[in-house]
C-alpha cells in the first residue's frame, strides 16, 4: 500500500493557543481512516490544516509525496483533496444543481462530470428531486448529502469529512454513513473526523484517537472498539 497523505509534527496555532501540538499521521491509498476525540481535541483544526483553510504553524503535510503547506487553498482540489467542511458549508442561495456544479469547478471533462452527477443522484435520490431548489431550503441531512455529493463531483483522491453526523437524525446518519462506506469500498480514500466514535470505528479500518491537541494512540478500528480506554472515554461503556 502506498502512502497518500503523510503528516509530520503538525502544529496549528490560534493566536497564542496551540490547538494541534505536533501530531503525526498517515493515510494509505484506499483506506478509510478515522480521527476521533472529544470536543476541542483539535480534530477540526487538523482537518482544516490539511484542507488549506488554516496555515500550520509548523510541520509537514505531504500529499503523494509532495509538500502541501504553502499551496494556496484553491489549488488543493486540483491536487486531489476535497473537504466536506464542518457545518456542511453549502452555498445557500445556489440551487442544488449549482452547488454540485461548483464541486466540479476545476474540471473540464463534460462527459465525466455528467456521469459523476448521475452517480451522486443515484446515491442521494433526494437531491435529484430537489435539484432546482435553493440549498438553503434543504434540511440538515439533505445539506449534508449535498456537501458530500459536491465534494465527490471534484473526483478527489482523498475525501476529508468533518463531522458528517453532526446534528442529524439517526436515520439520516445511517443514510450518510452507508454512502461513505460505499464510496470507500469503491476505492476512494477517506479521512473521517467524527464525534460519534462508535459509528466511525464501525466504518473505518484504522483510527487515531486525539486528546488535547495530541494523538493519544492509533490502532486498527477493531482494536479500538475493544480497547478499554476507548470504550470508557468514547463509547460510554465501563469496560
Amino acid at each position: 500500500m502506498s502512502t497518500l497523505l503523510e503528516v509530520k509534527e503538525l502544529v496549528v496555532r490560534y493566536g497564542g493557543i496551540e490547538a494541534v501540538k505536533g501530531i503525526n499521521l498517515h493515510i494509505h491509498q484506499g483506506e478509510l481512516v478515522t480521527l476521533i476525540g472529544a470536543n476541542g481535541a483539535g480534530k477540526t483544526s487538523t482537518l482544516n490544516a490539511l484542507a488549506g483553510l488554516l496555515k500550520p504553524a509548523s510541520g509537514e503535510i505531504r500529499f503523494e509525496g509532495e509538500l502541501l503547506n504553502s499551496s494556496p487553498i484553491h489549488q488543493l482540489i486540483q491536487r486531489g483533496l476535497a473537504l466536506v467542511p464542518e457545518g456542511r458549508g453549502v452555498f445557500p442561495r445556489l440551487t442544488v444543481e449549482e452547488n454540485l456544479a461548483m464541486g466540479a469547478y476545476t474540471r473540464k471533462d463534460k462527459p465525466g462530470m455528467r456521469a459523476d452527477l448521475n452517480q451522486v443522484f443515484e446515491s442521494f435520490p433526494r437531491l435529484q428531486e430537489r435539484r432546482q431548489q435553493k440549498a438553503g431550503t434543504l434540511s440538515g441531512g439533505e445539506q449534508q448529502m449535498l456537501a458530500i455529493g459536491r465534494a465527490l463531483m471534484g473526483r478527489p483522491k482523498l475525501l476529508l469529512l468533518d463531522e458528517p453526523s453532526m446534528g442529524l437524525a439517526p436515520l439520516m446518519v445511517q443514510t450518510i454513513f452507508s454512502v461513505i462506506q460505499r464510496v470507500a469500498k469503491e476505492g476512494m480514500t477517506v479521512f473521517l473526523v467524527e464525534q460519534n466514535a462508535r459509528l466511525a470505528l464501525q466504518s473505518a479500518q484504522r483510527a487515531y484517537v486525539m486528546e488535547g491537541g495530541m494523538i493519544r494512540f492509533n490502532a486498527s478500528a477493531n482494536e479500538c472498539l475493544s480497547d478499554p480506554r476507548v470504550r470508557l472515554a468514547y463509547l460510554g461503556e465501563d469496560s
Binding site: Q75, F91, L94, E98, A101
Partner: protein, 307 residues
C-alpha cells in the same frame, strides 16, 4: 404637453443611468461587503476620458454616434484598469482588516481621484462637443429624443448581459458562490481574489459606459460629477436591496422616476414654496424611508444573509 408622461420618460432615462452605476456598487458589495465609495469617481473618469477622445475626433469634423462609440471604447479599458488598480492598491491589502478600514480607504481613493482629475482636466465644467443631431420623437403628449432612446437601449442590453453573466455562466456561479461563502468557494478551486478582481472589472466597465452616456446626455462633465451621481446610484442600490442585481436595476429606475416626478410637480403642488431643485431631497428622503422601514431593500433578502 403631458407633463406626467414626459417626467416618467425622463425619469426612466436618468434612472437607467443610475441603475448602470448601481450595478457596480451592488456587485462589489455582494462579494466583499464593501461600499466602494470610489465607484462614482470611476464613472467620472469614464466621462472625462470619453470627453477627451470625443473632443479630439470631433475637432477633425467627424460627427455622429460613431464618435461617441469610440469614446466609450476608450473609456471602458481605462476605467477597467482604474477599477483593478483601486482594488489592488486600496482594498486587497485590507481584506482581513476591520470593516471600517476599507471604507475609509474607499473615501480616500475617491478624494484622490477627484483631485487627480482636477489636475488633468481642470476645475471648470467641460462641454461635450455637439456631435449628434439628436432628433426628437413624439409619443402621446410627450417627447423622447434619440439620445434618450439610445441610453435606454444601451443600458437595457448591458443590464441583461450582466444578469446573464452572473446567473447563467460558470463565472457568475463562482461569483455568487464566493459571495455566499468565500472559504468554501476556495475549497472548490475558485481563486476568490481573481473573482473579486473580475467583479471590479465588470463594474468599472459598466461605469465607463455610464460615464460617457451621462456626459452625452447632460452635455457637461467635471471632476466632481461622480460624487452626486455615485451617491444617487448607491441610494438606488440600497433602495433595491444592496447585493441584488435585480434590486439595483429596479432601484435605479424607481429613483429616477420619483426624482423627475418630484421635479415636475413639487413646485405646483406646494405653490412654489418648494421648487424642482428639491428633487434631490426627495431622493434622499426615500433612502431614509427605506432604511427605516425595510432595511434590506425592495428585493433584498430579509433576515440572515450569512448562514
Amino acid at each position: 404637453m403631458d407633463i406626467f408622461l414626459q417626467q416618467v420618460i425622463n425619469g426612466l432615462v436618468q434612472g437607467s443611468l443610475y441603475a448602470l452605476v448601481a450595478l457596480g456598487y451592488t456587485m462589489v458589495y455582494g462579494i466583499i461587503e464593501l461600499v466602494n465609495f470610489a465607484h462614482g469617481e470611476v464613472v467620472m473618469v469614464g466621462a472625462l476620458v470619453g470627453l477627451s477622445v470625443i473632443e479630439r475626433i470631433a475637432s477633425r469634423g467627424d460627427t455622429g454616434w460613431g464618435v461617441i462609440a469610440i469614446g466609450v471604447l476608450v473609456a471602458i479599458p481605462s476605467c477597467m484598469a482604474l477599477g483593478l488598480g483601486i482594488e489592488r492598491v486600496a482594498y486587497r491589502p485590507l481584506r482581513k482588516a476591520p470593516r471600517l478600514a476599507p471604507l475609509i480607504s474607499a473615501i480616500g481613493v475617491s478624494i484622490a481621484l477627484q483631485q487627480m482629475a482636477a489636475l488633468i482636466w481642470g476645475r471648470n465644467y467641460l462641454h461635450y462637443p455637439d456631435v449628434l443631431s439628436n432628433p426628437q420623437f413624439h409619443i402621446g403628449g410627450a417627447v423622447i429624443t434619440q439620445v434618450q432612446l439610445v441610453i435606454l437601449a444601451t443600458t437595457g442590453i448591458l443590464m441583461l448581459l450582466t444578469w446573464l453573466i452572473v446567473q447563467k455562466t460558470a463565472l457568475g456561479r463562482a461569483m455568487r458562490a464566493s459571495a455566499q461563502n468565500p472559504s468554501v468557494a476556495g475549497l472548490m478551486g475558485v481563486n476568490v481574489d481573481r473573482i473579486i478582481a473580475l467583479t471590479f472589472l465588470m463594474g468599472s466597465g459598466l461605469a465607463a459606459v455610464a460615464g460617457v452616456l451621462v456626459g452625452t446626455y447632460y452635455g457637461v462633465g467635471n471632476h466632481t460629477m461622480g460624487f452626486m451621481l455615485g451617491l444617487k446610484a448607491f441610494t438606488a442600490a440600497v433602495l433595491g436591496g444592496i447585493g441584488s442585481l435585480g434590486g439595483a436595476m429596479l432601484g435605479g429606475l424607481l429613483l429616477g422616476v420619483i426624482e423627475n416626478l418630484g421635479a415636475g410637480y413639487l413646485g405646483s403642488v406646494t405653490n412654489g414654496t418648494i421648487g424642482s431643485n428639491y428633487s434631490d431631497v426627495l431622493a434622499f428622503l426615500m433612502l431614509i424611508a427605506v432604511l427605516v422601514l425595510r432595511p434590506s431593500g425592495l428585493m433584498g433578502e430579509r433576515g440572515s444573509e450569512k448562514v
